[in-house]
């Protein structure tokens, strides 16, 4: 089975606007997380969708699903998120296995709730790639030159731009492989490795690249939010 895992565990500390986590802010007429969830629900290959939400916001998320979701509502499951991104993914994996058992044929398409501009093409390409390569990451070619600095003051390196990509989501995994890779990490590594694909990369597990879109932006800051609102012709609420 192919599962969707929408990561909505953030508490909005970076947005610095109101107290509401950014994934619950309206983009146009609906909360961002709902736009993201609807895109996943309109992908027939994704059979069940799990949303990882901070424990304090689980009830709010349930209310939003009740209010806004009109299709395949029975396929939506809300899971309490963990302390960080990967812990939230693992909570979702636990919930998947609780509901559908363990299987080598389980795959999960994980996605940031604050990337509501994801396209069905990107989601489908992730499904195709994970089914044939077991792990994939969505990226776009870097347009800016990437500069490496160890201390934040001086340049340590300027890698060749044509080899640089910017990571987006979805990131997709064969569930059992993801579990094995995560369990092989020590507690310290778990705390440092905030990117799920990096868990694979540091253990020399190949990760396939899927082409993203510049429009699949992550809405993290106030200016991102203003850009996103302008894209859909919505009102900006500061």
């Amino acid at each position: 089975m192919v599962f969707g895992g929408i990561l909505a565990g953030g508490i909005g500390s970076r947005m610095n606007m109101a107290d509401m986590p950014k994934q619950f802010l309206n983009l146009g007429d609906k909360p961002m997380v709902i736009h993201t969830l609807e895109k996943f629900l309109l992908c027939p290959k994704i059979e069940q969708i799990y949303i990882g939400v901070h424990p304090n916001w689980v009830v709010h998320m349930e209310d939003l699903v009740d209010k806004y979701i009109h299709i395949r509502k029975e396929c939506v499951h809300i899971v309490s998120g963990g302390g960080d991104r990967n812990a939230t993914i693992m909570n979702i994996v636990d919930a998947v296995e609780r509901d559908y058992g363990e299987s080598e044929e389980h795959y999960i398409i994980t996605h940031d709730s604050v990337r509501p501009f994801v396209t069905s093409r990107i989601i489908n390409d992730n499904i195709d790639a994970v089914l044939s390569h077991n792990i994939c990451d969505t990226v776009i070619a870097a347009t800016d030159t990437i500069v490496v600095s160890e201390d934040g003051n001086m340049i340590a390196d300027i890698p060749v731009r044509s080899k640089m990509y910017q990571g987006q989501t979805p990131q997709s995994f064969q569930v059992n492989l993801l579990k094995r890779l995560y369990e092989a990490l020590g507690e310290e590594e778990k705390a440092v490795l905030t990117d799920a694909c990096k868990i694979a990369v540091v253990q020399n597990e190949p990760v396939y690249l899927v082409k993203g879109e510049p429009s699949n932006l992550k809405i993290t800051t106030v200016s991102d939010y203003k850009v996103a609102q302008a894209m859909v012709g919505g009102k900006v609420v500061d």
Partner: protein
């Protein structure tokens, strides 16, 4: 859900409109296969008048499309059902005036967004199931329905002497019109008149093909279908009026950007019925689907369809439009956006 709408903003230039789509009472469809029409190409290449481009763009092109039902709020259509999409937006209802001519009616890809979109929502009556017809072929159902519509009107208007019917044009439209005429009137002789011997050689099912320049003075037909459009309309209409028998019916189907001079003296003298036929309605789509279930007809349609690579980016949309200019008949493609 934020829907991607791939709009033509100026000839040769696409831009994405991010549209906040509402889940209302309409059916949500994922487009699967599309086909390019000359009308799309005229917008893409900027052949329409500047004032028309200014008025209609930005706009998503393409009105020939089939897709998969994702969700029907009324539960009448099942998820996964394959359907053809009807681009007509009905206007004033009338028991006499057909839906594609009714006042207030509209057309997707003419002043309103066509089907170049990530997802499409339409009322259920704008969808026709096409089970049994491969998607590649189903994508041109709208085109077939236009031919079906002209034959339906012809049938109700023309007199019953139909020994010989002439079809002017050697393109996709005349290929389908001539094909359907053979199916609708097996006892009639269907003669195709064209300019390009290579293209005419595809019309093996017709009772005869003639190069326009070689039309004998003695050539006679009872009725005619004009499927040329553009500058060819003038010459085709001129020929038709010359060779048609008295009280024949002339079905005009080709679109021309310029006004076309008509020899009205002979139209009057012969008592001809000149009928404009454009677009189609639900009944014609249903008729087209019914005809397209015939495997023999499917194999014939396959001959005039060029399937380009799947479209997975805006660059790919440009590619299929460029490709279409170099293919003799219809260009179709899988929609992967």
């Amino acid at each position: 859900m934020i829907n991607y709408v791939y709009q033509l903003v100026a000839p040769g230039t696409f831009s994405v409109k991010y549209e906040e789509a509402q889940f209302g009472d309409q059916v949500i469809i994922k487009p699967r296969y599309m086909s390019i029409c000359h009308a799309d190409q005229r917008y893409y290449t900027g052949q329409r008048e500047r004032s028309i481009l200014d008025r209609k763009l930005p706009m998503a092109l393409i009105h020939e499309c089939c897709g998969e039902v994702l969700f029907d709020p009324a539960g009448k259509l099942k998820s996964g059902e394959e359907v053809v999409l009807i681009p007509n937006v009905p206007g004033e209802h009338s028991d006499i005036i057909l839906e594609n001519y009714a006042k207030g009616s509209g057309f997707l890809s003419s002043g309103r967004d066509g089907f170049l979109r990530e997802f499409i929502s339409l009322p259920k009556d704008r969808l026709v199931r096409h089970d049994g017809i491969p998607q590649k072929l189903a994508s041109i159902t709208e085109f077939v329905s236009v031919a079906a519509h002209s034959i339906r009107r012809f049938d109700s208007i023309s007199h019953g002497i139909r020994n010989r019917i002439g079809v002017w044009g050697d393109g996709s439209l005349s290929f389908i019109v001539a094909n359907l005429l053979k199916q609708a009137y097996p006892g009639s002789e269907v003669i195709v008149i064209g300019k390009n011997p290579g293209k005419l050689s595809y019309f093996t099912f017709a009772d005869g093909t003639v190069l326009r320049e070689e039309l004998p003075a003695s050539f006679e037909i009872d009725h005619a279908f004009e499927c040329c459009g553009g500058d060819g309309s003038y010459y085709a209409i001129e020929d038709i009026i010359k060779h048609i028998n008295p009280q024949g019916t002339v079905m005009l189907m080709g679109v021309s950007e310029n006004r076309v001079a008509v020899n009205t003296r002979d139209v009057l003298e012969k008592g001809l019925a000149v009928i404009g036929s454009s677009r189609s309605g639900r009944a014609d789509f249903e008729q087209a689907v019914s005809w397209m279930k015939n495997e023999r007809f499917q194999r014939r349609l396959d001959m005039i369809i060029f399937e380009d690579e799947k479209v997975s980016s805006v660059e790919d949309i440009h590619r299929v439009f460029r490709m279409d200019r170099n293919t003799p008949f219809k260009t179709v493609f899988e929609w992967g956006l």
